[in-house]
């Protein structure tokens, strides 16, 4: 159980970063840290002790594989994570070119 809790603490570290930081790049970094912790949590749930990787050896099939379903889902999620991070960074660089700062409070004040 301790790994689940540590994994959730990693998630909370990301949440702390999102709430307390004022720099846009740091916020993007915190968001990707939260993403990583969720991927890790899903794969941790599917792990089975003394299981082997879900690749069937036709010569000698074993019965004990780790769960392939969370792995397939996380594979999709990782790629989508790249898409969202790229999009966020593109918007951040746009904002920097317009306002010459990454400070979200300053951007909020310069609105208009």
């Amino acid at each position: 159980m301790i790994v689940y809790i540590l994994c959730f603490i990693l998630f909370l570290v990301g949440l702390y970063g999102i709430i307390t930081r004022r720099n846009l790049i740091k916020i993007v970094i915190s968001l990707s840290i939260m993403e990583f912790s969720v991927f890790l949590f899903l794969v941790l749930i599917g792990y089975i002790d003394s299981g082997v990787a879900p690749i069937v050896d036709p010569g000698n099939p074993t019965e004990k594989y780790v769960d392939p379903l969370p792995q397939a889902m996380v594979l999709t999620a990782i790629v989508i994570g790249l898409a969202t991070t790229a999009m966020l960074l593109a918007i951040a660089i746009r904002l920097y070119r317009k306002y010459k700062t990454f400070d979200i409070r300053e951007i909020n004040n310069l609105r208009g």
Partner: protein
């Protein structure tokens, strides 16, 4: 196994904390790499080689994009004094964390212990996927055959994101 993973995740937490508090944006970005590449090692330990391959590629691409963004703008971290609002934010995040941790502990009490997962619906995938899809890699079988539409949607999202990035970066500023 559990001990090794705990040490690895602890390392990731330290890396994440350093990335959030780093005084320089470039070092913050590089430190994010610690978290991402530790995740690759964790996937390998958890018997997920496909995920490890994908993660190492994606992490490298993300790092390159982030370094490009930082070099194109500024690597100076903001010089801000802690005022009332920032202390309020820290307090707020601690309260959020405590509440979320409480509910998380409540909800994982129903889960099996680590490493004692019971297969329910994946049983069918494991026993039948090889003959139904012809792929010896079960993850690929699930991803490209049983859930092929998911993968199509994923490709659509990637395409939309690429279009979005191009559009956002090409707009001419009004000034």
């Amino acid at each position: 196994m559990e001990l090794t993973l705990s040490i690895l995740i602890g390392f990731m937490i330290v890396g994440a904390l350093f990335a959030i508090h780093a005084g320089d944006l470039l070092s913050a970005v590089i430190t994010t790499g610690i978290v991402g590449y530790s995740l690759v090692i964790a996937f390998l330990l958890l018997k997920a080689p496909d995920l490890a391959i994908v993660q190492i590629v994606i992490e490298t691409i993300t790092l390159i994009i982030m370094v490009a963004v930082v070099l194109d703008s500024t690597r100076e971290e903001l010089k801000v004094k802690n005022d009332f609002k920032s202390y309020a934010n820290i307090l707020l995040s601690l309260i959020f964390s405590a509440v979320l941790l409480f509910f998380f502990l409540e909800s994982i009490s129903g889960l099996n212990l680590f490493g004692e997962h019971t297969l329910r619906m994946s049983e069918a995938y494991i026993t039948e996927a090889t003959e139904k899809t012809g792929s010896i890699n079960l993850v690929t079988g699930v991803l490209f055959d049983f859930r092929g539409y998911d993968t199509l949607g994923e490709a659509t999202i990637l395409f939309a994101a690429a279009l979005g990035v191009l559009t956002v970066l090409r707009i001419k500023s009004k000034k």
